[in-house]
């Protein structure tokens, strides 16, 4: 069976159109980026506005007891916040495709549209490609737009203290351009896989969303001072996710097999 890009694009076109008209889903998708951008900007703003607070120095020394007396605790904490926040920011490219892909795959079962769709010439690989694109493109675009807003916001609020641009730095630029799409692919793969096995979109979302827990756990470790994550750590994480992406892709195509879907859900 040859892969026909036109049919994969048709699936992408339909899912994207459906997404644009799904107001509830669009609102859910907008909440997370808003939080991911606003929270760190507000945190940086508080550091900038209380640079000489004794509390700030105590917190900074908790993370780095060797912090020189002359060094700015506010600046140290701003840098630490930006580094730690990147781990949490990665939740967004994982979570947004989960929201979309769960709706698009399990939603086909719920709305009883699966059988007419599978009765068309579209192949499993084209279906996975089209549905994945429809989840990945919005996720990556949202992540990049949020990143731009985040950089501008942080630079504006940090300028009075730093007197120069802080963002984008190397970690964030590499992370958002390279690692975030890999994470988005991962979130999508998990959602497609789980959606193919459960009957409701909501259930698929809830189960798939559990994959963000390790990410949140790692950020917790960073905040607790147990884990120090930098560019190398995230590059390694990206490599692991790349391997998982390949495994998920093969598994998704196998699970979206017509016979399996129809005999189980049709």
């Amino acid at each position: 069976m040859a892969f026909r890009p036109r049919r994969a694009l048709a699936v992408f076109w339909k899912d994207f159109l459906d997404l644009r008209k799904n107001v509830g889903l669009l609102v859910s998708m907008a909440v997370l980026p808003a939080v991911m951008v606003l929270v760190p900007i507000v945190v940086v703003w508080t550091y900038v506005n209380t640079p000489n607070s004794a509390d700030l120095r105590s917190v900074a020394q908790f993370y780095d007891p060797t912090l020189p007396l002359g060094a700015s605790a506010a600046r140290f904490l701003i840098d630490k916040t930006l580094t730690d926040w990147f781990g949490l920011f990665l939740v967004m490219p994982v979570f947004v495709p989960i929201l979309i892909a769960s709706q698009s795959v399990a939603g086909e079962k719920e709305r009883r549209t699966l059988e007419p769709l599978l009765a068309s010439p579209v192949t499993a690989a084209e279906l996975v490609a089209g549905k994945s694109l429809a989840a990945l493109v919005p996720a990556v675009v949202i992540t990049w737009v949020a990143f731009i807003v985040f950089c501008v916001g942080v630079d504006i609020v940090a300028w009075p203290l730093v007197q120069g641009p802080l963002m984008p730095n190397a970690l964030w630029t590499f992370g958002v351009l390279v690692i975030a799409p890999l994470f988005a692919f991962f979130g999508n793969g998990v959602a497609v896989l789980i959606s193919a096995r459960v009957s409701e979109a909501r259930m698929a979302q809830q189960i798939s969303a559990l994959v963000v827990l390790p990410l949140v756990g790692m950020v917790g470790g960073q905040v607790a001072g147990v884990l120090k994550a930098g560019l190398g750590f995230y590059a390694l994480q990206g490599a692991v996710v790349l391997v998982l992406d390949a495994v998920l892709l093969v598994a998704s195509i196998r699970l979206l097999d017509r016979e399996r879907l129809i005999s189980r859900w049709g």
């Binding site: 036109r6 049919r7 008209k21 799904n22 009883r112 059988e115 007419p116 009765a119 010439p121 129809i262």
Partner: protein
């Protein structure tokens, strides 16, 4: 090869047999009825013939495409109307249809005039830009039928095509089915509406996991006879009297008319004598064919006995 050729077709899901040993042929231009009670394997059969399920045994060739080897080619020539319309409710009627045109890689400029013709025919002309979520049940069913036809399929499977339609729309659909068959397409109709099957189909097959019966509708209706009797007053009064006859005929009563199903033509005088004896004033008694429904129900009763 045109039409549908099925030989020894069967499907198992694990240890459970869904259908087995089906053998039949449907010609181009024929409307063929696939009947059977719920769970009899009709849907599984249709799914195998539309390339959605692979047969566990036997073979099926649909318009030259083998169901077990060329599912993709097969799906290009078949149209499937499922029991549920299965439309995308947030999309408009036009967007729903365009999606399936794209999946079939059609040139939309060429496919639209034909689709537009069906939209007009089913009374959906001018509603193309409305979201399907606002459509009535009947409109959704008609749009699903149009979607089945967008790629000009040679073989069409229709599962309860007039379900949810008002009588006028149901007639439009029946006329369209007859017209599609007259264009040389093969049509398989699955329906529990046996009077509709009687009107549309030349031949029917009754399945209950296996093929119970197959033949032309006219001949099936002739197998066993009926007697139409017109009496004075309410015919219902005489139903029990007739049912008490030694050969216990099945009796339908409607207004002044009784339809008495007979195992044997020789019982007709006994029926009339019984009616006269019970005080009926008989206006006329005419031999009639049994309705398909009677043939079908008798068959299932025999099968269950």
């Amino acid at each position: 090869m045109s039409g549908i050729d099925v030989r020894g077709l069967g499907k198992r899901f694990g240890d459970r047999v869904a259908v087995e040993g089906l053998t039949f042929h449907v010609r181009p231009g024929e409307v063929f009825g696939l009947l059977g009670p719920n769970g009899a394997g009709k849907t599984t059969t249709v799914r195998m013939l539309t390339g959605l399920l692979s047969p566990s045994e036997g073979e099926a060739v649909v318009w030259g495409h083998r169901a077990d080897r060329d599912g993709e080619g097969l799906r290009k020539v078949v149209g499937l109307l499922t029991e549920q319309p299965g439309l995308y409710e947030r999309l408009t009627a036009r967007e729903n249809l365009r999606f399936f045109m794209k999946l079939h890689e059609l040139d939309e400029a060429k496919a639209w005039p034909r689709t537009q013709h069906y939209l007009e025919r089913f009374g959906l002309g001018g509603r193309e830009e409305e979201p399907v979520g606002g459509f009535s049940k009947g409109m959704r069913q008609k749009l699903a039928i149009v979607r089945t036809l967008v790629h000009d399929p040679r073989v069409i499977f229709l599962d309860e095509p007039t379900s949810g339609l008002d009588p006028e729309s149901a007639r439009t659909v029946r006329d369209a089915v007859a017209e599609l068959a007259s264009e040389g397409r093969t049509i398989v109709l699955c329906s529990h509406n046996l009077s509709e099957v009687e009107r549309l189909c030349e031949r029917v097959a009754v399945v209950k996991k296996r093929l119970l019966l197959m033949g032309p509708v006219r001949e099936l209706r002739r197998s066993g006879q009926a007697l139409d009797v017109r009496v004075d007053g309410e015919a219902e009064r005489f139903r029990n009297v007739l049912a008490a006859l030694p050969f216990a005929p099945n009796v339908l009563a409607e207004g002044m008319r009784l339809r008495v199903m007979l195992e044997d033509e020789a019982h007709a005088p006994d029926v009339l004598a019984c009616l006269v004896g019970a005080g009926a004033r008989v206006h006329s008694a005419v031999p009639a064919q049994r309705p398909l429904e009677e043939v079908y129900l008798d068959l299932l009763r025999e099968e269950g006995a």
